[in-house]
């Protein structure tokens, strides 16, 4: 999904404040045609607020929003070709599933026959045909979620906005629905902007993602870019697990206490600046004999072993870091080495897996 597609939605320097709270600060983003875009961030970081501004329920305090190049601020929510799937679903409890889904088309005053055909179609796609004549109160959580989705999708919006569409579901169902959402998006060919606070969900579903913190956009990119090349400590920590060593930049690495750890220093960081060198637990290995020259090597002592089934996480105390370093080793390696708490070992990693960022 690296192919550049046309921009559908452009958010330009948008800010939003509610009295004392600044919910969104100077966010600029472009959403491309047909992509599955995830907005990720911790609770209260302004995700819902951003989505509500796109849908037209909040007015930006500053900045503008362009849809297909045109400013949409004068268009009221009921005439925006965007649809929002609410965090609470907001289904109409007095209507059947069919009534809920056909509502949006009735508002467009389409002919009865067309409405019926399109409703039947979407009931099929979202596997709700069986439940068509039931009321929301008689549905399971997963079914309700699909009604909310079908109700918004049937409008064929330019962009479908989904606010935590899977948050109300249990873990198993959530995982299967992640793939289901992706399938649906492919099938209907609509641009999706999905809000989530679950980083794994964003990584699995998104073509591209944006990470927000306190209303500020921290990074935008493909899941791979964001995971492998986080721009800053917040993103590095928020997405997945990360080990940090704090020190200052030198040529070709970061000096931590007396040790120089190798890694590419980004051009915007000069020499002698406070910086952190970061490495993911799954990039660390247990030293086994000699190692290539461009590798970092640290000796340490195992303090804890956590078993996950698929792999094992070791907490290793090193002389140059306050915090224990997490090392993820495969079940195979774990069998080979027979780890025990208190054991001394050496950790190694290639300099290409080091990430250096300002601290």
């Amino acid at each position: 999904m690296t192919r550049e597609a046309a921009t559908v939605l452009e958010i330009r320097n948008v800010s939003k404040s509610f009295e004392a709270v600044q919910a969104v600060r100077d966010v600029s983003l472009s959403i491309r045609e047909n992509e599955f875009f995830a907005l990720l961030g911790p609770s209260g970081c302004g995700k819902t607020t951003l989505l509500r501004m796109l849908a037209g329920f909040e007015k930006p305090s500053r900045g503008e929003i362009l849809l297909d190049g045109k400013d949409i601020s004068p268009i009221p929510p009921n005439r925006r070709p965007l649809n929002l799937m609410f965090q609470s679903y907001a289904l109409f409890s007095h209507m059947t599933v069919r009534g809920n889904i056909s509502y949006g088309l009735e508002m467009e005053n389409l002919p009865k026959g067309e409405i019926q055909a399109r409703v039947n179609d979407i009931l099929e796609t979202t596997r709700l045909t069986e439940a068509a004549n039931r009321r929301p109160a008689q549905l399971s959580g997963g079914q309700r979620q699909r009604v909310a989705l079908a109700r918004a999708l049937i409008k064929r919006p330019r962009v479908l906005l989904l606010d935590e569409p899977l948050a109300a579901l249990d873990k198993k169902l959530r995982e299967s629905m992640q793939l289901e959402l992706k399938r649906l998006q492919n099938e209907v060919g609509v641009t999706f902007v999905v809000v989530t606070h679950d980083q794994e969900e964003a990584l699995v579903m998104a073509d591209r993602m944006a990470v927000l913190k306190d209303g500020v956009l921290m990074q935008v990119g493909s899941p791979h870019q964001v995971y492998e090349h986080p721009n800053n400590k917040f993103v590095a920590q928020f997405i997945g697990v990360m080990n940090f060593f704090d020190g200052e930049t030198v040529d070709g690495g970061v000096k931590v206490k007396d040790e120089v750890l190798l890694g590419a220093v980004p051009p915007e960081l000069g020499r002698g600046q406070a910086a952190a060198i970061a490495v993911r637990p799954e990039r660390l290995e247990i030293a086994n004999g000699a190692m290539p020259a461009d590798h970092n090597r640290l000796s340490g002592q195992v303090v804890e072993i956590a078993y996950h089934g698929l792999d094992v996480t070791l907490s290793v105390r090193t002389p140059i870091s306050e915090q224990a370093i997490l090392v993820r080793v495969s079940a195979n390696a774990s069998d080979r080495f027979k780890f025990a708490a208190g054991q001394n070992l050496d950790i190694v990693w290639s300099a290409t897996h080091s990430r250096i960022m300002a601290s």
Binding site: N78, N83, S93
Partner: protein, 284 residues
């Protein structure tokens, strides 16, 4: 933790006892009484018969029932038309204004029912404030007779019960998920269609509660028709009052009361069914 049977009994005991003592027992007495006859000198002859019920559906009395129902129905409808927009406006006002506005709506209850009804006489009578006002505005003809007719009774009833209807509808509007307004708009509905297709149907329980409330209290009311309707507007309430206190025909009064109670029960039952349906229970 589950509440034990004993706990349940202790908790609902007083309420149930109160109801039994002051509702069920008197109703039972009224019911029993309605099958006897008035004695020659105003006492009660304990002869079992259905005569009182036969008499109650005599056209003379049946018409009074119909007329009472018409007046009560009209009062309920007008009260609803006044209360719904008011309740809607209050529920959409900024949150900090809502409680003061509701307080204002129920403010009349701080004065006595009779005094409030007499106040209407002062306003409406031939020499009353309204007629004086018209005169000041240049009206020349005969003073307008606004008192002692059906209209005055309806006005008095509406005035008295509107606050209850506002409360009933306000509470049913605020119970709605605040996001359904936006969801409807998001799906392309205008404000009017949102109201008509989503909000109104979901507040049917409040509407039904308000209507039944006004109707039930109005159809049995005898003070307002007596004071504002003069001797001319007789409603069931007045009829029953007369049977007990003037004609001293307790058994017939009891029979009339029982018919009235029956009508109220049916209405309350219908309202409960409606409320249940609107809450999304039941299929279809």
């Amino acid at each position: 933790m589950q509440t034990s049977r004993l706990q349940t009994a202790v908790l609902i005991g007083p309420g149930l006892g109160w109801l039994a003592l002051l509702m069920v027992v008197p109703c039972g007495l009224v019911f029993v009484l309605s099958f006897f006859e008035r004695g020659v000198y105003g006492g009660i002859d304990y002869v079992f018969n259905f005569g009182n019920f036969a008499r109650a559906i005599d056209p003379l009395y049946l018409n009074i029932f119909f007329k009472s129902a018409r007046i009560a129905g009209l009062a309920a409808l007008i009260a609803l038309l006044i209360a719904y927009p008011a309740a809607y406006a209050i529920s959409r006002a900024p949150r900090r204004h809502q409680t003061p506005l509701l307080f204002l709506a129920i403010l009349p209850f701080w004065s006595n029912y009779l005094i409030r009804t007499y106040a209407w006489i002062v306003l409406l009578n031939r020499e009353g404030f309204l007629n004086q006002g018209f005169e000041l505005l240049g009206y020349q003809g005969e003073p307008i007779n606004m008192l002692y007719n059906d209209g005055a009774v309806v006005l008095g009833l509406v005035y008295n019960y509107v606050p209850f209807v506002i409360l009933a509808i306000y509470s049913s509007i605020t119970r709605l998920d605040p996001e359904i307004w936006e969801a409807s708009q998001d799906l392309g509905a205008t404000r009017f269609r949102t109201f008509y297709r989503v909000i109104l149907p979901q507040t049917v329980p409040g509407i039904a509660a308000g209507l039944v409330f006004v109707f039930v209290l109005s159809i049995g009311n005898f003070i307002t028709p007596d004071l504002l309707g003069g001797g001319r507007v007789q409603m069931v309430g007045n009829l029953i009052y007369d049977q007990f206190l003037t004609a001293r025909d307790w058994p017939f009064g009891a029979a009339l009361s029982f018919v009235l109670i029956g009508i109220m029960m049916v209405l309350l039952f219908l309202q409960a069914v409606l409320a249940n349906r609107a809450q999304g229970g039941g299929r279809g």
